[in-house]
Symmetry: C2
Subunit: 225 residues, 2 copies
Amino acid sequence: MAKDMTLLWGSGSPPCWRVMIVLEEKNLQAYNSKLLSFEKGEHKSAEVMSMNPRGQLPSFKHGSKVLNESYAACMYLESQFKSQGNKLIPDCPAEQAMMYQRMFEGLTLAQKMADVIYYSWKVPEAERHDSAVKRNKENLSTELKLWEEYLQKTSGSFVAGKSFSLADVSVFPGVAYLFRFGLTEERYPQLTAYYNSLKERPSIKASWPPTWLESPQGQDMLKDV
Amino acid sequence: MAKDMTLLWGSGSPPCWRVMIVLEEKNLQAYNSKLLSFEKGEHKSAEVMSMNPRGQLPSFKHGSKVLNESYAACMYLESQFKSQGNKLIPDCPAEQAMMYQRMFEGLTLAQKMADVIYYSWKVPEAERHDSAVKRNKENLSTELKLWEEYLQKTSGSFVAGKSFSLADVSVFPGVAYLFRFGLTEERYPQLTAYYNSLKERPSIKASWPPTWLESPQGQDMLKDV
């Protein structure tokens, strides 16, 4: 089955990482994997554009079925391989509701993170304002405090209850990215505990960004968030 | 079942409308519905904040289960009431893949729409730039042309294939919002045909924004997009 699958991905990208974690969790490791370089602009190559007119990674294919949106690929894989590997959507209605709620709140977290980390990359120099940088950091901090509360209530190991789920698949890569960019452990103890606990999970370890392994030192952009 | 459900919503809001369409499609019309006013700031009321710390609409509850993210509520309702009303996730793997892909691409469409329509509301006056307004409009136009192509390929009635699905639930309210804000029919014939066809669907008619019925005249903000 996995031999029919092709994933084009970039190292460190949270959306790519989500798909890779699900492929690990569902025992679909035999997929065709191709690491591309954002720095070299390979996400705009003809190979990517033919699968993904947006020129983005991940670009994912199962046979002739194209699923480039990371949430779409994750939902599809869980649905098609429900009884293979680990179950990623809980049956219990209360746990399932919490899982969907946190999974989609994860998009807001990702957005507020991107507003800070990609600011200089996304906003042309003539349109940049210190006031916007400050506000984006405050918004990210407010968002992160909400997740601190959520994790306190679930007592820490998983983001939506008692078991690893698509909510963790969606949220963990962003959390790791935040720490990679200098989030301070002292200010976010629950997120730190969550990060430290999940980074040892086999599916996550196996898909850890190779560029992070090569140069373990991250950046300090978020040290004052 | 639906009597255990409460939806706090605002008229015209695409995320609120998504949940209302699913409730109609799944024959759950007996839910407790409370229309709140964004203009009066009722989305920041104590009632909303107690269900939704983000102070946003929709705020949705099924018993004690809270699902405020519209995509989360839609996924949950389809999962819990699979065999009730209309099936909103196709079984066929190819159709399902397309459905998830379009559903999540819908978030990008919503984002690019928001970047244009909410610009003055979101960006403080001292940080506004004509160049950003122009770029946002161009990005929205590029995005809409992609959807024109998608609709051409599916031959128009539904956004992800042969039947109405969660992809339409996710995308249609945004399309209606675009036309409400002045998108021109001449430039987007496929989106226009899609809009005209789906606006007659019973679930959509029954949940049409009451403020739009009261004052049918929209705005012309998008006339040059």
